[in-house]
């Protein structure tokens, strides 16, 4: 078997590992962190104000209109949900594939997932005309007959999929955290911390019997999350593909969306990991350049998958002979003879998602932190525009030319989009401070992987 690099460098002992990983939680926050946090928090407060305004005045504040009745909120919802896929993917699917390198990034990736899903989850709720009635989307016994819900509507599937996904991924994440909380509790110097983390650790003891149940459960959750994570973005893609609009009504959407989700998810992991490595230098020994490289490879692969999807969409549109479908795609690309009002967004998307990731063919690019950081940012942008292209271009020119129109982008659209980052980052920064960012219990078994004396377990 080919010799592989160590997963953890710097000849750590178990104690070192514990110390390193617990450090951010136990030490006083660095200036950098505080700065970032204040920034994020301000953005979050702004976000809350913006959402309040939208709630108070109505969706009319945003650019949504007739015919483009879905806009920034849905786009950004899909964007965050997409990002929220990498975590579970890494922790579940890679776990099933016994990919040991996952251990150092799994925890943070999962955290990212949870926070991304939280951020995303707000949008479908808030983008309705009367958000205070959203509870009508749940089938609960009522005094109206009772009147139930329409299980045929993809939006209802969304409700079930997203809430299930949120719950399960959160549980999955928490279960992974339990032993580490116990560790922190036992290391705790002051009473409060001991109490808090004691409660969080649920009184975990780490006896062999517990571990055997624990590992079994972890395996099960991984097994359940794997199809779940695939189903979620499949169902999100149904929101579009089940509708009849040209450019939406395509069978390729589920795989295409899932690929896109993994793509954007890993990009976001890279973005965050580079930051974590800067913020907590000791993590460089755990989140090594090798880890980054692996993920960059995944980014490039999924990037090309997405590119393939773009291409096949065009082919199918042409091959179908459906004039509406054909027009929709020619219009996306801005072919002369179409309105092509949104061609710019289409080409931004293609550039960011298909062309730029090709850099990763080169090893230096895969292993160069600044490069991969920039690329990952581009991918994030590109993936937001992918959803923009899908949502807006299909709606703005559909069947009857008489009601063709454009999206009326307003200040509030931008505010909602950027504000959502405030929410995400605030949560993420808090996470870095309060929770061991790498799984202490999971990383120890892979300590020896790649070490010369023995080839791991």
């Amino acid at each position: 078997m080919i010799k592989r690099n160590q997963l953890i460098i710097g000849n750590k002992s178990f104690k070192d590992i514990t110390d390193d990983i617990c450090a951010p939680v136990e030490r006083f926050p660095s200036k950098g962190w505080v700065g970032l946090f204040l920034g994020a928090k301000t953005l979050l407060i702004f976000y809350i104000f913006v959402l309040g305004m939208v709630l108070a005045n109505g969706m009319g504040l945003l650019g949504v209109n007739h015919p483009v009745a879905w806009g920034t909120m849905i786009i950004t919802f899909v964007f965050w949900i997409g990002i929220g896929h990498a975590g579970t993917l890494i922790s579940a699917i890679l776990f099933l594939f016994r990919q040991k390198w996952r251990t150092s990034v799994a925890r943070t990736a999962e955290a990212m997932t949870v926070f991304a899903v939280m951020t995303a989850g707000l949008f479908p709720l808030l983008h309705t005309g009367r958000p205070w009635l959203d509870f009508w989307l749940f089938p609960y016994p009522n005094q109206r007959g009772p009147l139930w819900v329409n299980f045929r509507s993809p939006l209802l599937w969304d409700v079930f999929a997203v809430s299930t996904y949120a719950t399960v991924s959160m549980v999955f994440w928490y279960i992974g955290l339990v032993p580490d909380f116990a560790t922190i509790k036992d290391r705790a110097k002051n009473k409060v911390r001991r109490m808090v983390y004691g409660a969080l650790s649920l009184g975990w003891k780490g006896t062999a019997r517990n571990w055997s149940h624990y590992e079994m459960l972890y395996l099960l959750l991984a097994g359940l999350s794997a199809p779940l994570v695939l189903s979620v973005h499949t169902i999100v893609s149904f929101d579009f593909s089940v509708a009849g609009l040209p450019g939406w009504h395509t069978t390729i959407f589920p795989p295409y969306f899932v690929a896109g989700a993994i793509f954007s998810g890993f990009a976001m992991v890279i973005t965050l990991m580079t930051l974590v490595r800067i913020g907590f230098p000791q993590f460089k020994d755990y989140i090594t350049i090798d880890h980054m490289e692996v993920m960059n490879k995944i980014i490039m692969t999924t990037g090309m998958m997405v590119g393939y999807a773009y291409a096949s969409e065009f082919f199918v549109a042409w091959y179908s002979g459906n004039p509406y479908e054909r027009y929709a795609f020619l219009n996306r690309a801005g072919v002369p003879g179409t309105s092509g009002d949104y061609a710019w967004s289409y080409w931004i998307m293609v550039t960011c998602n298909v062309i730029i990731p090709q850099l990763f063919w080169f090893k230096w690019a895969r292993r160069n932190i600044p490069t991969m950081f920039i690329v990952s940012i581009f991918v994030n942008i590109g993936m937001w525009f992918e959803r923009f292209v899908i949502t807006v271009t299909s709606l703005h020119n559909d069947f009857l030319p008489s009601n063709w129109g454009n999206y009326a982008w307003s200040f509030w659209d931008g505010a909602v989009l950027f504000g959502s980052f405030g929410m995400f980052l605030t949560l993420f920064l808090l996470y870095l401070r309060l929770v061991p960012a790498i799984s202490i219990a999971e990383i120890k078994p892979v300590l020896d992987v790649g070490k010369d004396k023995k080839g791991g377990h």
Binding site: G52, M53, L55, A56, N57, G58, M59, G60, L61, G63, V64, N65, H66, P67, V68, A69, W70, H127, T128, G129, R130, P131, W132, L133, D134, W136, L137, Q143, L147, W148, V149, N150, R152, S153, P154, L155, L156, V159, D239, V242, A243, G244, L245, P323, Y324, Y327, S339, L395, N397, D398, F399, L400, P401, S402, N403, W404, G405, N406, A408, W412
Partner: protein, 1047 residues
């Protein structure tokens, strides 16, 4: 909106009379406003309310977020609200009160509407209408189907006039203006009727009185005015922008009768219109559309309409053959046709007439000169001749008011005479002799005023301060008049210059009558007690005469104009029209039917050959020519404060909330201007800046501008919307010239965004509006439509009982947009204002799509009314998560507002995009008393709720219940949707598909019928009948076999 709340006394003849007798001498204007009980009791709190009541307007609305303080309040309120919502299930509702009538008016059944016949008059057309009232509240205007002239047809403006009644900017009491010597200031104060009447009657005694009114179609009013004239030696001058004087003069010099003849498009097989927009805004569009559509239903003998169009008029859009010209060419075309017939073909009795020939000879080879396809021109002339006796040539309207307007009329009359149309399609005697307004008389009056010959000027229902170009000098002249009195219902431009404003009642509040055409009289009866302290114009005149104690007995004898009117009918109308009925029967019948009499038949009149000599060939002009034209929305601009009309997009340009200058494509390229770039028009030294709208199909030397905009004192809605292009009219040798004036264009470095509800104008080769030439249709029959093989994997639900459906005949629809306003009135559809129309948020449930076909230089237009298609496989229903839109067992696509959470998924998934979303809480912006116009049968939608056409489900219910109560089955035609009743062309038919005998199911089986986006298999319950163009050509622009649905 529990209806048991309304509790005013209902307006009823006997009661009203009794009340008036009691209230004498303060007659029609008692202080009992009935807006609400509080106000009724003069409650001070209400007074405070009333003062603060008209603050915000949806139209002037700025982005609410701008005001943060407000936002915070609003935000907290919302927080509270949502909390309340969350627990709403578990708290008692607020206490509501029921205030029953004091005395039950026996004709009022709560919740059951009453219909009153009356007449709507807009200055040119008197339409017989039914006013639907509930608990004494006018709610809707319908055409009166039994009316002999308008036959149930209405116009957009007639439909919208309801809103004028509830206009918050109406004057609520008489006013007095205190002027300085120069009359430069304006300082209005309130004044009591009594004081005002005293002062005025004193002033009147000085004599030199002039009564300036609009065209008075009401015989009784005319008699009041003339008797008032006898009293004070007052001269009566009638003027309004659309004088139709040119027609009368033309008639006079050709036949010697000074009237506007009756045109009978229903008898015409070949129609040639020279800029007469008779389907849009010329003369009596509702009636004409009715007549015209009759000749388009039976394709066996379908009429042909040829339009020589200098603007892109609605008539031009409906023409089988449209020829673009500029105003200075109108005369050439008319005479050219005559030349073609008389000289070239040597036809008609004038073939031998040397004089005629010599006059005509000047117009030889017109077609070539005007660059009109000569073959076409010849064929038009031939068609006219071949259909002689049943062809019709018309010209008129502002577009034809050039220097040689009268010559044009003479030429047209000449054509009609040689074609033996006079007496057949042109009826001299059945014309409307009441349209007597005159530019010349007005200009003469202005001279007198300048010379101080006028001491007192009484102005009624006309607005020279706005609608008359300032070059006529009215504004200066009026300052020379000792006392100016106006009866304006609002503080308008005239009221600015008047000493006294004696506000007139709204037509719906007051008695009157109308001479619809010679021999047909209509009654106008009030449908509501005057809302404010106003008084009818006629009663004002009577009162002043009464107080001065001058004038014939009849003028002084009556306390109310109603008495006068009734007596007038007894003396003048009953003897002629009575047919031996007792007067009371006659009167009641008139009230019930809304009219009496029938139009007199007329025979051919002899044409005075010498008239032809007046026609001179004017030298050919080059350079840009101005075209001023009225729009179907605003007409002459008198109802400019009605938001419905401003938001109603122009049927051709699809622009709303503005006027603009239309230029042809070539011109725009020449001037390097785009839609919305601002240009300055200069017409003899008068300048006006207007945004550009590029209008395909215009003559390259035409600059077309709509009049009726740019009012300064009409009210919060209309003020400052668009530019007043009346200014561009100019006075030349004692008459007003509107169109055909030389115009300079300067491109300004500015842009101004126009609100356009349809921005894409080609069908992209999709089968949307199926159009075929008559020839093609006769050859191909049903194959003009490309059918798709459609199959489904399951049988679908069965519809037993009723299955509601609608058929729209695109061949009849003229795009007149009456249905749009009718729908808006019926269904409480909010107006959103220009800002939000630009963001694509207009709310119309039925919209009229307009597509251009053919070349961009001279495209023809097709119209397609589009409302919810009520698909059996409704895509919107499948995707609604909360079952807010579902299918009913009678085939309706139900929209349940109170269940809707507003995901807007349904709108996305609707291939027709007919759903509308309440982006803001528009209903909160409805200003009192406009809320009285809300239809209690239709739920008012709140913010965040989707809405759309419901097939007027409330009317379905109403009809069903009536049938149930009378225990009879529902028959076809019992249910008529709002758009259907409004349509003057009878293009819309609603009914039960399961009843194989119903009109709609017959139309569904028609070979021209097709469903929009059939291949999409949403299985709509609306089907369209293909448009047929009788242009004598084969394979028209959109041949479905080559383009439809494919490409």
């Amino acid at each position: 909106m529990s209806d048991t709340h309304s509790h005013h006394d209902h307006d009823h003849d006997e009661q009203e009379l009794a009340a008036k007798k009691a209230a004498r001498p303060k007659i029609e204007h008692d202080n009992k406003f009935w807006l609400s009980l509080d106000q009724y009791q003069q409650n001070p709190e209400f007074k405070k309310l009333a003062e603060t009541e008209f603050l915000s307007s949806p139209l002037k609305e700025e982005d609410d977020s701008a005001n943060e303080g407000w936002a915070r309040r609003e935000f907290l309120k919302l927080m509270g609200a949502s909390l309340a919502m969350a627990t709403a299930g578990c708290i008692r509702r607020p206490v509501e009160k029921i205030i029953p009538y004091n005395k039950q008016p026996e004709e009022v059944v709560l919740g059951v509407p009453n219909f009153y016949t009356t007449t709507y008059f807009d200055g040119s057309e008197a339409i017989g209408v039914l006013v639907k009232t509930r608990e004494g509240r006018p709610l809707k205007i319908e055409g009166n189907p039994s009316h002999p002239i308008s036959q149930g047809g209405t116009t957009a403006r007639a439909q919208a006039s309801l809103l004028g009644l509830y206009d918050p900017d109406r004057l609520r009491a008489p006013k007095k203006n205190l002027f300085n010597e120069k009359r430069s200031n304006k300082d209005g104060i309130g004044i009591s009727w009594d004081d005002m009447d005293k002062n005025i009657s004193e002033q009147l005694k000085k004599g030199a009185v002039v009564v300036l009114t609009g065209a008075l179609t009401s015989p009784a009013t005319r008699s009041v005015v003339s008797e008032f004239g006898q009293a004070f030696g007052a001269e009566h001058v009638a003027w309004e922008p659309f004088t139709h004087e040119e027609i009368r003069e033309g008639q006079k010099s050709c036949y010697g009768d000074d009237l506007v003849p009756g045109y009978r498009f229903d008898r015409a097989q070949m129609i040639v219109s020279l800029d007469a927009d008779f389907l849009g805004a010329w003369l009596t569009p509702a009636t004409f559309t009715k007549q015209f559509s009759k000749t388009r239903k039976d394709l066996g003998k379908m009429s042909r309409l040829v339009m020589f169009d200098s603007s892109y008029s609605l008539t031009g859009a409906n023409a089988d053959i449209r020829v673009r010209i500029k105003p200075s060419q109108q005369l050439d075309v008319a005479m050219g046709l005559a030349h073609e017939i008389v000289v070239n073909k040597g036809r008609s009795s004038y073939a031998g007439n040397s004089n005629a020939k010599s006059v005509l000879s000047a117009f030889a080879g017109t077609a070539k000169k005007l660059g009109i396809e000569e073959e076409l021109f010849k064929r038009i002339a031939d068609d006219l001749w071949e259909n002689k006796g049943q062809s019709l040539v018309v010209a008129g309207g502002l577009q034809t008011l050039t220097a040689d307007a009268v010559e044009l009329q003479i030429a047209v009359n000449f054509l009609n005479s040689i074609l033996e149309n006079d007496g057949k399609t042109v009826e001299g005697r059945s014309g409307n002799s009441s349209l007597k307004s005159s530019n010349k008389e007005l200009l003469a009056l202005i001279k007198n005023m300048e010379q101080g010959k006028v001491k007192t000027l009484i102005i009624h229902r006309t607005n020279p301060m706005y609608a008359l170009s300032s070059s006529a000098g009215f504004a200066e002249a009026i300052k020379k008049v000792e006392m100016v009195i106006t009866t304006s219902e609002r503080d308008d431009e005239v009221a600015q210059a008047a000493h006294y404003v004696a506000p007139d009642n709204h037509p719906m509040e007051t008695w009157s009558d109308a001479e619809v055409t010679a021999g047909v009289f209509g009654l106008q009866q009030p449908t509501i007690r005057p809302m404010y302290d106003t008084r009818s114009f006629q009663l004002s005149l009577m009162t002043w005469a009464f107080l001065a104690n001058k004038g014939p007995k009849r003028l002084l004898a009556y306390e109310t104009f109603f008495d006068y009117l009734k007596n007038y009918w007894k003396e003048e109308i009953h003897p002629k029209q009575g047919r031996g009925q007792s007067f009371d029967d006659f009167w009641n019948q008139a009230l019930q039917e809304g009219f009496v009499g029938e139009s007199v038949n007329s025979s051919a009149r002899s044409f005075r050959a010498e008239a032809l000599n007046q026609v001179k060939k004017s030298k050919d002009k080059t350079g840009y020519e101005l075209v001023l034209y009225p729009t179907i929305q605003l007409g002459d601009g008198s109802n400019n404060n009605i938001a419905w009309l401003h938001e109603l997009p122009d049927p051709v340009t699809k622009v709303c909330w503005d006027n603009y200058v239309c230029v042809s494509l070539a011109t725009s390229q020449k001037l390097k201007i785009k839609n919305g770039s601002v240009v300055q028009l200069t017409v003899n030294n008068k300048k006006i800046d207007l945004p550009v709208h590029i209008q395909p199909g215009l003559h390259d030397e035409v600059l077309a501008v709509a009049i009726g905009y740019g009012r300064t004192h009409v009210g919060r809605v209309g003020n400052g919307v668009g530019q007043n292009s009346y200014e561009l009219a100019s006075v030349s040798n004692g008459n007003l010239v509107y169109s055909g004036q030389e115009t300079q264009v300067t491109v300004l470095n500015k842009t101004y965004k126009l609100a356009q509800t349809q921005e894409h104008h080609s069908m992209e080769g999709r089968q949307i509006v199926v159009e075929a030439t008559l020839k093609d249709y006769e050859k191909k029959k049903e194959h003009i439509i490309h059918r798709h093989p459609i199959w489904s994997i399951w049988s679908g639900h069965a519809y037993n009982g009723n299955k509601w459906a609608m058929a729209v005949d695109l061949n009849s629809c003229t795009g007149c947009s009456a249905c749009v306003v009718a729908c808006q009135a019926e269904n409480n559809i909010p107006v959103v204002g220009k800002k939000y129309v630009m963001q694509g948020r207009e709310m119309h449930w039925i919209r009229i799509d307009r597509y251009y076909t053919g070349t961009p230089e001279n495209p023809s237009a097709v119209f397609q009314p589009l409302m919810c298609q009520h698909c059996d496989n409704a895509p919107c229903e499948t995707v609604c998560p909360v079952l807010a839109t579902v299918h009913t067992d009678d085939g309706l696509n139900a929209m349940v507002y109170n269940r809707c959470v507003g995901t807007r998924y349904c709108s996305n998934n609707c291939p027709y995009k007919v759903r509308r979303f309440n982006w803001f809480n528009y209903v909160k912006k409805i200003e009192k008393p406009l809320h009285l116009a809300l239809n209690p049968e239709v739920t008012v939608r709140m913010r965040g709720v989707m809405e759309k056409c419901t097939f007027c489900v409330q009317r379905i219910k109403e009809a069903k219940n009536e049938a149930r109560i009378d225990s009879r089955p529902l028959k076809d035609g019992d249910i008529k949707t709002a758009c259907q009743t409004a349509c003057p062309a009878e293009a819309i038919v609603f009914g039960d598909m399961n009843d194989s005998e119903s009109r709609v199911s017959k139309m569904f089986k028609h070979e021209r019928s097709y469903a929009l986006l059939e291949e999409w298999n949403a299985a709509p319950s609306v089907r369209y009948l293909a448009k047929i163009r009788n242009n004598g050509k084969e394979s028209a622009s959109s041949d479905p076999e080559s383009k439809g649905g494919h490409s």
